[in-house]
């Protein structure tokens, strides 16, 4: 299921503002890649280009190539909607649909795309909730509103919702930043389990988290405010945290940064 992502020479713009410049990197399938870096360095922006979500912001556009296995996501004729079915996303703040029950939230991706049949949906909902380690907690109240769950449960509900459409890649934009340590741990355990099936990319401000969950780490930085963010280096997480090849990475990781 999992696919490899190959990015070459990617520039990201909001209108005339260049937010991210010259990113070239590979995201390996069935692994966790973490993006770290100071605020405003473009990690989230870059993440959102991987499923063409940055385009929903007016003026958002890119130059360069993003290859998903052997398909260019930005080739003309590629439907962004189809890209997003292949590359799923979990957001910073848990955002279950407030009008929908737990069941409907998980089934939303399929239902809204026209999948019918209660039996098939039941199966997907159970499988996705199990996959998100939420099944035992909610199986008796699937009809209750999703917004009634705790923050950590809501985030796992959002992960269940994202994997219900069986994406190839799962993007996570600071998925734990709004959660307490216990819920964070639950999500991190979940990420380790999910990586056997999916390609996972996670943006995080928590360096311990990057060290704990990721196989590879990419460090982003920006020269100054108003300048575009850049990829400084990407390597095995072990290497980045123990023996990075760039001085700035070491400074950032050891907390000696600006």
């Amino acid at each position: 299921m999992a696919k490899r992502i190959d990015v070459s020479d990617l520039n990201v713009y909001y209108g005339s503002f260049k937010a991210v410049e010259g990113v070239t990197m590979t995201v390996e399938p069935r692994s966790v890649t973490a993006f770290i870096g100071p605020s405003g360095c473009g990690k989230s922006t870059f993440l959102r280009t991987l499923n063409r979500m940055h385009e929903v912001v007016p003026g958002g556009r890119v130059e360069g190539k993003v290859m998903l296995d052997d398909e260019d996501l930005y080739a003309s004729g590629v439907d962004p909607v189809a890209v997003r079915r292949t590359v799923g996303m979990v957001f910073q703040r848990p955002n279950p649909f407030p009008t929908m029950s737990i069941y409907d939230n998980v089934a939303a991706g399929l239902k809204l795309n026209g999948v019918r049949g209660k039996k098939a949906l039941d199966e997907v909902v159970e499988r996705s909730l199990r996959g998100a380690n939420l099944w035992t907690e909610v199986k008796d109240r699937l009809g209750k509103p999703g917004a009634g769950l705790s923050g950590g449960q809501q985030q796992r509900l959002c992960i269940a919702r994202a994997i219900a459409v069986q994406p190839q890649v799962l993007l996570m934009d600071e998925p734990c930043s709004a959660l307490d340590p216990i819920s964070t741990l639950a999500i991190e355990d979940l990420i380790s389990e999910l990586k056997s099936t999916y390609t996972i990319v996670i943006v995080t401000h928590n360096m311990q988290q990057a060290a704990r969950v990721s196989d590879r780490t990419a460090f982003f930085n920006l020269a100054a405010t108003g300048k575009p963010g850049k990829l400084v280096e990407v390597d095995d997480t072990q290497r980045i945290f123990n023996n990075p090849s760039v001085k700035a990475t070491e400074d950032y990781i050891s907390g000696r940064f600006g």
């Binding site: 649909f97 407030p98 009008t99 991706g109 919702r161």
Partner: protein, 313 residues
């Protein structure tokens, strides 16, 4: 008097002080005292303003209820029209006017709601650049149109230009002009309240934009939109000026939107308001109370739907 309580309470606490507690230094206590005085003064002022604002409201309600309620208790009021009843005679009801007001309101809503809601969806979800600004500007202008101008405009189109008769449907058209801008504005506000994160969550599942709007955004804003519609409807149902121009009064029940006259509560009130005979005067008060009640019911219905349909926690 209740307005004086906070001030006297403050004064009492000041005078007594707290037994056993050390006296604050003069600098500190001086500051606190002047601030508390200002606070008390502001509180009295706010209460007074509130009471002043309440006076006309209570006055209106009291005079309408006290002079209109007895006719409403008569079941004939709700079942009979004014057919064959002169100002001199008692009796008859308002069912012709109630029916007319409801019917014209329903037609108005049936035309305005789809147009207004879709306009709001355009403005919030799609509108960018010049066209959106132009549409928004037009809505602003429509909001400011006096109701008599809306009535005259429809008269110019419907009667003068197209040569039709003054009928109930023309009244509804003029009310549409008044209802659309209010519903557009209220729906817009409700759609803006829907967090962008929900739209993004839906896009990220590979759901197209139009389906995101229909299945995620509109349901989330549903109760607010309904409330706005009912409030807009309540407002136009009390409009009088276009009715005077386009909807002549009749004493009989009429249901034809495109032929003949149709009575409404505002025109019924207007009909007899210059009469000095008591039976007619009573009917004016009763019709006014009926109109207030009708709008009150609509408002309550709006609130009820808002509560039932609101996002469940």
């Amino acid at each position: 008097m209740s307005t004086a309580t906070p001030a006297t309470a403050v004064a009492r606490t000041r005078a007594a002080g707290r037994p056993g507690s050390p006296q604050p230094s003069p600098a500190l206590s001086h500051k606190a005292r002047s601030r508390e005085l200002k606070n008390a003064a502001a509180r009295v002022l706010v209460w007074l303003a509130f009471l002043v604002a309440l006076v006309p409201l209570v006055w209106i309600l009291w005079s309408v209820v006290s002079q209109g309620y007895h006719l409403l208790l008569d079941s004939g009021w709700w079942t009979h029209s004014q057919k064959g009843i002169t100002a001199r005679r008692q009796g008859g009801g308002a069912v012709h006017a109630i029916q007319g007001t409801l019917l014209q309101g329903a037609v108005t809503a049936a035309i305005s709601v789809p147009v207004a809601v879709m306009t709001a969806v355009y403005l919030v979800e799609y509108g960018r650049g010049k066209l959106a600004r132009a549409v928004s500007f037009m809505v602003d202008i429509l909001t400011g149109i006096p109701s008599i101008v809306a009535g005259l405009f429809i008269y110019a189109v419907w009667v003068t230009t197209l040569g039709f008769q003054r009928v109930a449907f023309a009244v509804s058209l003029s009310l549409v002009l008044l209802m659309i801008p209010t519903v557009v504005r209220s729906t817009e506000e409700m759609l803006k309240l829907v967090p962008n994160e929900l739209r993004e969550a839906s896009y990220a599942l590979g759901v197209p934009k139009w389906k995101t709007i229909v299945r995620v955004v509109l349901p989330t804003a549903f109760s607010g939109i309904i409330t706005g519609i009912l409030l807009g409807l309540a407002r136009v149902m009390g409009e009088t000026a276009p009715l005077l121009i386009l909807g002549p009064y009749t004493k009989s029940i009429a249901t034809d939107l495109f032929g003949g006259y149709m009575a409404t509560l505002p025109t019924m009130i207007n009909q007899d308001r210059t009469e000095s005979l008591q039976p007619a005067v009573d009917r004016v008060w009763a019709a006014a109370l009926t109109l207030i009640l009708l709008i009150l019911v609509l408002n309550l219905a709006g609130r009820l739907i808002a509560r039932l349909g609101s996002v469940r926690k």
